[in-house]
Amino acid sequence: MKVAVEGCCHGELDKIYESISYLENKEGVKVDLLLCCGDFQAVRNEGDMKCMAVPAKYRHMQTFYKYYSGEKKAPVLTIFIGGNHEASNHLQELPYGGWVAPNIYYLGYAGIVRFKGVRIGGLSGIFKSHDYKKGHFEYPPYGPDSLRSVYHIRNIDVFKLKQIKMPIDIFMTHDWPRGIYHYGNTNQLLRQKKFLRQEVECGTLGSPAAAELLDHLQPTYWFSAHLHVKFAALMQHEAKNNAAPKITKFLSLDKCLPHRDFLQIVEVADRPGSSEHLEYDPEWLAILKATDSLQKPSCNFWNPPQDNGLYTRWDFSASDEAMMEVVSDLSGDLCIPENFSLTVPAYDPSCPQPNAHPVYSTNPQTTELCATLGLTDIYILAGQAYGEECATGATGEEEDEDSTGSVDEPSEYPTDTSGLSSSYNPDEITIEDEWVEEEDEEVECTEGKGTDAVVPEGQVGSQDSDRDSSPQREMANRLILPSTCSAPESEAPLRSLRPLSLPPPLASLSQGSSEEEGGLTPARVPKRTSGETTLGSASHTGSTPQIKRRNQSIYTAVENEESED
């Protein structure tokens, strides 16, 4: 089947569908499925628009509302993940995924579905180390901090995905797996996006969580966006269990603008006899059921269970019985019900509501799925806990981090970065005017850096306690990948992941590169990479980075100091 892959959508549904239609007519092909890799902006009305982390001048309704209201219908089944520019209140209604409009399906915080027998998965959001270990505590109306943290990837979702055992055909993340740039034409990438050079050479560009998933899932295809550049890579994984090494075809695409590489048609073989409709994935739903009790809608850090004697269970992979139970729950029908319904009023251009407030509402699709499978609606849980735990905990830390970014990085948005905050938001991507290529490259400079922060060891919780990450900022320069916490965890996948964040061999990097395993002495990372890396690191001495055991820094309760041998 022909799968159209689109990079960042930015609400340009009309253009995207028209482009597909034009391409179909011109080339005589028929597209069966559209995958969109984030920044979808499923903005239903003015209230949703206020839940989108974009500067005021870029806060436009765009075209999604037409598909929501029924004025238009998506001409091709569309599946998308969230990015860092989303109507977050809308997407939070569908934590396990669901229809945002007829024929347009959101995968949720993380999700796997099947279409024509092809397993398609995705992880929404972008990686930010300081929010990674928190629960999904956010709840509208959002403050300046939660407006951004809401789309930051959480370790609970990565943990769930790491329970997957059966092969995945296609996987999507908005930001890139860290290190993937070494598996394609890196030089060409850096010619197109010069401002990425430093991060690429330091190995800090991209999401370590996505890199971990890439190593674990080893899907046939991996699609991303976020950096507004087309980049292809072919990554050959290390062989597992005497099987031949798998290869992942990685592709990142641009945003939908004229003359840009925002769309790609990929031929993916479907499986004969499989359903023509979008289906649930039994293995994934079994994992959701098994991990349901682990979810905490709290801004306190969560440490995934692991085989260290402290947990009674750390393996939440789906047994055959669990999968059959899921199929039984669904009455033998894996087809995702086409049960979309409007939950909030759609934008009406003839009757605009500029003062509309963001609506918090539960979504009957989530209610139905939770009832069917016995899952918790974590959006409701977050609403119940809202204001109790997070009123003071996260705020100080977030402001600190944002203010650092404004000092060290020129903002993409010269002044007003958000209608809700005066602090710089390193997650922002410039949605510049059309035709302005040079401006695009220039202003995206800091964005590309800001989003791909070095994972500070301290922030990702080397200890078991819930703690504010701000005291740990001195350790912010360590480049650490999130640990693989689900047992059984062998060393082999850890090793195979290691090079993903290793910088290329450049002697000049002695000051800038830190081993991704996390030095005990953090290496100095150039300031422009992230706001997180700038505050007074006590170790800005350029001393030789020492290597910590990889994957321990985030999940383990006690740091493992034996890694050097």
Partner: protein, 180 residues
């Protein structure tokens, strides 16, 4: 496109179950036995080219738009062409940021009732307007959209990137594990 020197990673790799969960007993909606259960496949489909391998079980025809359990009442109607809440207008792209109505760029001499964007259509007949709209979409189209983006790439193995790394950047005691 298949590169001759490129061996599909799972060709000849033996049973699919290697490294993955073996297929569970078939869960069968129609009562018979199937070669593989709904969630497991014996061979992966190759990225390009014809399919081969075991077939997944035939699924019975699905009722389109069926609901299971009562949630989301009324949802089905949105798949049957709900009448639009707005006056139908030509699907011509409007300038970004323009109000969704008359284009602000329209001059008073335009024909009244004309709703198209001046970029993509003119008041001088729908055919002309359609042509202008097509020209606009030409700007979004690139032939490379249908070309294999990996055609010029060779798979790079994880071990290859390991060897590229500067040993100075790694702890010497760690070196033994990776660089032997």
């Amino acid at each position: 496109m298949q590169r001759p020197q490129f061996r599909h990673p799972l060709q000849g790799s033996g049973p699919r179950a290697a490294g993955f969960r073996s297929p569970p007993p078939a869960f069968d909606r129609t009562g018979g036995m199937f070669p593989s259960p709904p969630w497991a496949f014996s061979n992966p489909p190759p990225p390009f080219g014809p399919r081969f391998g075991q077939r997944s079980p035939n699924t019975p025809p699905r009722e389109f738009g069926g609901n299971r359990g009562g949630g989301g009442g009324g949802g089905g109607k949105y798949f049957n062409g709900r009448s639009p809440a707005h006056t139908p207008r030509r699907s011509s792209p409007s300038p970004r940021g323009a109000p969704f109505g008359r284009s602000p760029y329209e001059s008073p001499r335009r024909h009244s009732g004309y709703q198209g964007s001046p970029r993509t259509s003119t008041p001088f007949g729908s055919a002309h307007g359609r042509e202008r709209g097509t020209n606009d979409m030409e700007k979004y189209y690139k032939p490379s959209m249908l070309q294999d983006p990996w055609a010029d790439l060779q798979p790079i193995s994880v071990t290859q990137t390991q060897s590229k790394c500067n040993p100075k950047l790694t702890n010497t005691s760690r070196q033994g594990r990776y660089y032997n």
